[in-house]
């Protein structure tokens, strides 16, 4: 048994995209993943954190043998995902969030039983696990409900059970809480935590663009943007790189044309992101020296921007992302990327 659950070496994926009808012959290339090198130990809960279109889903699709890489290599549980795909599949499972897949005409139990049979699970054992897992996620009373009659959230929970049902060595969860309400997301996170506590050899790769989720759950996090892994470490270590910096959150009146870039041009200001909203704006400032705040306040005064609230806070993974990318995750998503 390999000590590494997942290992990638210079893994890359380029999509060739056809142009519009008028430009059919023109093929554009989209780099979805570039030179990804990861080593994930058995027993780890590893997070891939990045905005929509960063390449997270592409990486999961490659590791689950659904998509061929265009360069590099990857191994899951010691087996090459291209040449040994048939040996990888019995050992893994995957769940994609934000979708309502499944056979609506089958009951919850039937859906789950069917997938368990594809993995060769004895029927009796499968039924026992189904009941146990459904109870754990609060779906015990819906076992005989047709899945088409479930709400989107409950259907997503059913799919999460499908992923855990086969007790995989490596489980891939792609945005598992996407579209779930706060309570359901909490249930799912608790369930994930519990599943890993029971058996220390279980490995889970989770993709998310929720900073809090990554921070709360993951042993290690890889921050990914535009197909490249920018940093990879535990949330604590990642945040520590900003600990020397002074991080401020400032609520202001409307910025009157003042931009984050203009603030970033000030000395000792590492990054400044601004999000305008009704009647004001919120700025996140990462300053090399606390004294740099005086310059920021000065520019506010020049532009008639009033400070409504100012607080200093501890660094978060969002700050790490901003520090690495230069923009917040929301700004990157607004800017648009295709996965």
């Amino acid at each position: 048994m390999s000590s590494l659950a997942i290992e990638t070496q210079d893994l890359g994926r380029i999509y060739k995209i056809r142009g519009s009808k008028k430009e059919k012959k023109i093929r554009k290339e989209l780099v979805a993943l570039a030179d990804v090198n990861l080593q994930i130990e058995r027993g780890e809960l590893f997070g891939l954190l990045g905005p929509n279109g960063a390449g997270k889903t592409t990486l999961i699709k490659i590791l689950t043998t659904l998509l061929a890489p265009t360069s590099g290599q990857a191994r899951v549980s010691g087996f090459d995902i291209v040449t040994d795909a048939a040996r990888v599949r019995p050992l893994i499972n995957m769940v994609s969030g934000g979708e309502s897949s499944g056979y609506g005409l089958l009951t919850v139990r039937e859906n789950l039983w069917m997938f368990s049979q594809f993995y060769g699970l004895p029927s009796k054992e499968a039924n026992r696990r189904i009941e146990e897992l459904l109870k754990m996620v609060g779906l015990g009373d819906r076992i005989h409900t047709k899945s088409s009659d479930l709400s989107t959230g409950l259907r997503q929970k059913m799919n999460i059970v499908r992923g855990f049902l086969t007790d995989p060595e490596v489980l891939f969860l792609d945005e598992p809480t996407l579209g779930l309400d706060v309570g359901a997301s909490r249930d799912v996170r608790n369930f994930i935590r519990h599943w890993l506590e029971v058996d220390e050899t279980r490995t889970l790769l989770l993709t998310t663009h929720y900073m809090v989720e990554a921070e709360e759950l993951c042993d290690r996090v890889a921050i990914i943007n535009q197909g490249r892994v920018l940093a990879c470490d535990s949330p604590a270590v990642l945040k520590r790189r900003l600990q020397k910096d002074a991080i401020f959150e400032v609520a202001t009146s409307p910025l009157n044309g003042l931009t984050g870039a203009a603030i970033e041009a000030l000395p000792e200001v590492r990054t400044a992101t601004a999000a305008e909203h009704d009647g004001g704006a919120t700025l996140n400032l990462i300053l090399v020296e606390e004294a740099a705040l005086a310059g920021v306040i000065n520019i506010f005064t020049q532009r008639n921007v009033r400070i409504l609230n100012l607080s200093k806070r501890e660094p978060t993974l969002e700050d790490v992302f901003i520090d690495l990318v230069g923009r917040s995750m929301a700004e990157v998503e607004e800017g648009g990327q295709d996965e």
Partner: protein, 295 residues
Amino acid sequence: MTTTTRNPLPASRWKESWRSFRIATWLGWQIESNWTDPFLFAIYSIVKPLAGAAILVVMYGIISGGNFEDPLFPYIYLGNAFYIYVGAVMTGVSWAVIDDREHYKTLKYMYAAPIRIPAYLLGRGVARFLTGSFSVIVTIVAGVLFLHVPLNPLQADWLLFFLALFLGIVMLAMLGLLLGGISLLIVNHSWFIGEAVAGALYLFSGAIFPLEVLPAWLRPVGFAMPMTYWLELLRRSLVGNVAQAFPTLATFSNLELLGILLGLSVVFGVISVFVFRRCDHLARERGLIDMTTHY
């Protein structure tokens, strides 16, 4: 969860194929038999094939001046009845790709599971074969009872019939696999690829008229298709003397026809497996396994 037992070593190729086929058959049947309204099912499975046959009977009646005693009538009627299998089986197998990918959004989970996709798709086609069989039986029984199709069960060669039927269904399933592979690559407009291909081949397979009726340059298409020999064998096994009234394949003995059918089935089977594997490979390369088109 208390379970820590991991999955056993990978199952053998055959075991995995059988498991995939068996569970897919169950799933296919659950989908096909989901008749929330039995009346609608009756309409679909009984009235639809009968209506199709009735159109043909009326057309034949007008063209032949009502001569239903001519051997051409059972030729047409039985050919048309058994041709139901062509659309049903080919569509049953290839449709599963579209259905799982576009409708249920489960194809990626199937592909990530330890199953044999070809065996899974063939299993999904079994239910369509069964419902198709119902339509075929209804059509033939109606022909015998009401239109005097000269089928005498006591004189039929049942061994030849079931042998030919089995071989033909396997051949159609393999063609369905070929279309399933193509469906993996054609994201748009592949919903009815099985029915469309069945419709396109209808005129060339001797289903409703002997190949002599076709222009000479089109006949090779019919002779190259296993369906032509399959339909001829089915007709011969059920209404032997009538079927042999047409010169197209009259020079061939039953055994020779079986040999040709087997040979062509093997050829098309090999081509189907090759095409499916190639398409499967390309679909993984292009990232089409979980592509949805949001119709």
